[in-house]
């Protein structure tokens, strides 16, 4: 029988049982919709994480002192990173765009009657581009101010809000642990990152922080930005070499520092969110499987109910393969329609999720394709057995069936 004729016959008999056909496709609709929505949720989470990590700075690498203690028990950090280390790295390792020594501590900041314990970051001016910080107003401190241990500070937007209650903080004097600092700039709002809040801090020259405010001899870390297109693991290796020489660590001893690159963090987070996506998609595809079983169920009923029709068709010269194809077509059409409507419902649920929750979704064309072809495969797989049962019936038994 011709393809188009067969298609017409199948559609006709599906249309004749509208309600049943709809119920059969419902399982597939829900299945495909769920698969698409779940995959989109996972993908959206991945995108959100990637964006957050990227906003921290691009091509970022962070050198931190190692931690004392062993076997999982971690006490305080080594105090062994120095400005000399930073100099050596900057001069000896190729591929580094810029670098900033970083010290961090908390300090009491006071303006009039407002008094808060606030994180203070001491850094070089390169810290701003490395960490992707831009100013909302005012200016950054200068090279000269850094050299002169100037008491100037760039303030985070939340800190500014807390201290100045919406008034302009620029050119105001605040007391940090009792010392007078002048606010020269305010950072653009970045948003809470979960593990740290860049909007709640003040940034001052590292020289001022080390020599005047906290009296520190060692650095809390070194932040680096590597050049675009440079292999981060190669740079990491070279830094390790320089640091081992500087700290005189024998080759068989573990390093007393750690280097973390943004690329690595990104890879780890990506692999976590991939697992999440697969997990969600896997759970959703179970519902697609259940939908397929629903189609098989309906098709088996249909075949039994239409035994007499099968007998008539066989008496008129239908071959087993004609009957097989007719019923297979019906289940494939059911699952393809279910797949199509499922895609629409998947997109709709993605839309609803983004409207009614803070979760973001991202539908990838590949996932749509996968869900759709999976539904077609379900139609063929679960339609085959009922179709086979229909096809192999003896013509006279089918014709006599009441």
């Amino acid at each position: 029988m011709l393809f188009w004729t067969l298609l017409k016959v199948s559609i006709k008999s599906l249309w004749a049982n509208k309600m049943r056909s709809f119920l059969a496709t419902l399982g597939i609709i829900i299945g495909v919709g769920a698969v698409i929505a779940m995959l989109a949720l996972g993908e959206g989470a991945k995108k959100q994480i990637t964006q957050k990590v990227a906003s921290l700075g691009s091509n970022l690498m962070v050198l931190r002192p190692g931690q004392k203690g062993s076997q999982g028990v971690r006490s305080e950090s080594y105090e062994n990173l120095t400005l000399e280390n930073a100099e050596a790295i900057l001069h000896e390792v190729p591929g580094i765009l810029q670098l900033s020594p970083v010290v961090r501590a908390s300090a009491q900041i006071k303006f009039l009657n407002q008094n808060n314990l606030t994180p203070v970051t001491g850094a070089a001016i390169t810290y701003f581009p490395i960490r992707n910080f831009t100013l909302q107003s005012g200016r950054k401190f200068t090279e000269i101010e850094t050299r002169q241990n100037a008491r100037v500070a760039v303030i985070g937007s939340q800190t500014a809000n807390d201290l100045f209650q919406g008034k302009n903080p620029l050119e105001k004097m605040v007391k940090v642990n009792g010392l007078n600092f002048k606010i020269i700039g305010q950072l653009e709002i970045r948003g809470d990152q979960g593990w740290y809040n860049p909007d709640n801090q003040i940034i001052i020259p590292y020289t001022t922080a080390m020599n005047q405010l906290f009296g520190l001899k060692h650095l809390g870390g070194i932040d680096l930005q590597i050049k675009e297109g440079v292999n981060s693991s190669m740079v990491k290796e070279k830094i390790t070499k320089v640091m081992r020489r500087q700290h005189r660590i024998p080759p068989d001893m573990p390093p007393d520092f750690t280097i973390q690159s943004q690329a690595e963090v990104m890879r780890t987070l990506n692999s976590i969110s991939l697992v999440l996506t697969m997990l969600l998609g896997g759970i959703a595809s179970i519902s697609l499987l259940v939908g397929g079983i629903g189609i098989m169920n309906i098709m088996l009923v249909t075949v039994t109910e239409r035994t007499r029709e099968i007998g008539i068709r066989k008496a008129l010269g239908a071959k087993n393969s004609d009957i097989l194809r007719q019923f297979l077509f019906e289940s494939i059409i059911l699952s393809l329609i279910g797949g199509g409507v499922g895609i629409v419902s998947g997109f709709m649920s993605c839309h609803l999720i983004t409207v009614f929750s803070s979760l973001s979704t991202l539908v990838r064309p590949l996932y749509v394709l996968v869900a759709f072809s999976f539904s077609a495969a379900v139609g063929i797989f679960f339609g085959f057995y009922p179709a086979f049962r229909a096809a192999r019936q003896n013509p006279i038994d089918a014709l006599r069936y009441e």
Binding site: K314, A315, G317, K319, N320, N394
Partner: protein, 220 residues
């Protein structure tokens, strides 16, 4: 044209076997009009199903136009049902929710015929149903439905028409009409085999084969 030799068929009914046909031999020539007569349960329907390639005999041989049917595979049998034999059933066996035209088209579609629609319309025209092409079976009277069935049986131009109690469900007037159509088909050179328990119809046929308890008891 059509010969069966020593065919037997039995059915399992619960624990027991019922013998439907017992060593039946029969030969029908081309262009004959034959009635197979017998009470219900005599085996006449089983014989017709075997002649129509809808059922296999348990033993014995069946030759149709010189070819041995009993050795053919399922697809070959489907092809024979499609283009050598036209069936007319007592209960019409039309597909519901399909128009008369679509019903008559079916055998042509299974044969892969290119101009099925025109042929089907012509066949319906022949049984005087040219004005009812797009009616569904439920919208037609019994006599009209039976004429659609006849058109469907004729449409592939088969050499044999097999009718199983074709008038069983019809009134007298329709009966006569249907019988006239069969006589006309026979005059056109087709072999017509009618299974019936109606003595009047059997009397209109050239030859009567009487069956009782799975055996041929009389030939007229």
């Amino acid at each position: 044209m059509l010969t069966v030799k020593n065919i037997s068929k039995r059915y399992k009914m619960g624990e027991e076997y019922v013998i439907a046909l017992n060593q039946v031999s029969l030969s029908i020539r081309k262009s004959e009009m034959v009635a197979i007569v017998g009470a219900s349960g005599s085996g006449k329907s089983t014989l017709m199903h075997i002649l129509g390639c809808l059922d296999h005999p348990d033993s014995g041989q069946y030759f149709l136009e010189g070819k041995e049917i009993s050795k053919m595979n399922k697809d070959a049998l489907a092809k024979i049902r499609n283009n050598k034999i036209g069936f007319v059933f007592q209960s019409f066996n039309l597909l519901p929710r399909m128009s008369a035209l679509e019903n008559v088209e079916l055998p042509l579609l299974y044969a892969g015929h290119p101009a099925a629609k025109g042929e089907a319309a012509a066949a319906l025209e022949k049984v005087n149903l040219g004005s009812r092409l797009y009616h569904e079976p439920s919208q037609l009277s019994g006599g009209q439905q039976q004429r659609v069935t006849i058109a469907r049986a004729l449409v592939t131009n088969p050499s044999i028409i097999l009718a199983d109690e074709p008038t069983g469900n019809l009134d007298t007037k329709s009966n006569e009409e249907i019988l006239k159509i069969f006589q006309k088909l026979n005059q056109d050179g087709r072999t017509v085999i009618i299974v019936t328990h109606d003595a009047e119809i059997a009397g209109k046929c050239q030859r009567q084969i009487k069956i009782r308890d799975g055996r041929i008891i009389e030939e007229i």
